[in-house]
């Protein structure tokens, strides 16, 4: 039987909840029945991409005073992990952030900001950011 897990999480848009979200991601990795890779590494990576994505959503939600929560869904189905982080902020241009090209990363190594998207793109198979009628969704996908 294929393992199917769906988590739907809403938390206040405050960074104090990053640790909670990250730990949920880690526990999820540890719970998987059939994962044959390095489970500890997967747990860390899920913790990390969730933290990065939710921190981004919180930063953009804060610009919109009416927004009080961050909405996250995590699903596992057919050995695919899909994480979606919804924000109702004005959003950001995923293309305008520092590129993933390694040469440019080397040059821009000493920037104070901008590593979050690079980390997500490196650790996940696919990352997209879509504007929707009621906000935006950052979607990350990984084959397990």
């Amino acid at each position: 039987m294929n393992e199917r897990i769906e988590l739907d999480i809403r938390v206040p848009n405050e960074t104090r909840y990053l640790s909670l979200i990250g730990k949920i991601g880690e526990f999820l990795a540890q719970t998987l029945q059939k994962y044959r890779g390095d489970r500890e590494e997967l747990a860390y990576h899920i913790n990390l991409v969730l933290t990065e994505a939710v921190a981004n959503a919180i930063r953009h939600a804060r610009a919109e005073e009416r927004v009080e929560e961050v909405h996250i869904t995590i699903s596992i189905h057919d050995h695919q992990l899909i994480i979606r982080v919804y924000d109702q902020g004005k959003g950001f241009d995923i293309c305008s952030l520092p590129p993933t090209d390694q040469e440019e990363i080397d040059e821009k190594c000493l920037q104070d900001h901008g590593r979050g998207i690079y980390i997500m793109r490196t650790l996940m198979d696919r990352v997209s950011y879509r504007k929707m009628p009621q906000g935006n969704v950052l979607e990350m996908e990984k084959s397990l």
């Binding site: 104090r16 860390y44 990390l48 990065e52 930063r59 190594c109 104070d112 590593r115």
Partner: protein
């Protein structure tokens, strides 16, 4: 953010006593380092022995400290990185930027070289 701060031979040692260095607390570390720079303390070792998780904000705070130290003819070095934290530095190529030591005594001693 909980840190222990000490000084040895004009080098400040900041031991970060938190499990996570992330978007929630990294600005506090940044501020703490800025206060040290303003007090004329330009040589810092950050001991991450208790830290099992660092995100891009945490890295950003350390990079900011490194740049400020360098601009003041000082240096910021790291020590006691847990394996997954070390991997983060390698992933983002920052292991080539920072001098990283296995323990704080070696990190502190390196300033005397």
């Amino acid at each position: 953010m909980l840190t222990h701060v000490g000084e040895q031979n004009a080098v400040v040692l900041i031991e970060v006593k938190e499990e996570r260095l992330d978007a929630h607390n990294s600005s506090e570390l940044k501020t703490q380092m800025l206060n040290l720079f303003e007090a004329g303390k330009n040589n810092i070792v950050v001991d991450l022995g208790d830290v099992r998780f660092v995100d891009s904000s945490g890295l950003g705070a350390l990079v900011s400290g490194f740049k400020n130290a360098s601009a003041r003819n000082g240096n910021l070095k790291l020590c006691n990185l847990q394996p997954q934290v070390q991997s983060m530095f390698e992933l983002t190529r920052l292991h080539r930027v920072f001098e990283i030591f296995p323990d704080n005594q070696r990190a502190l001693a390196s300033f005397q070289d």
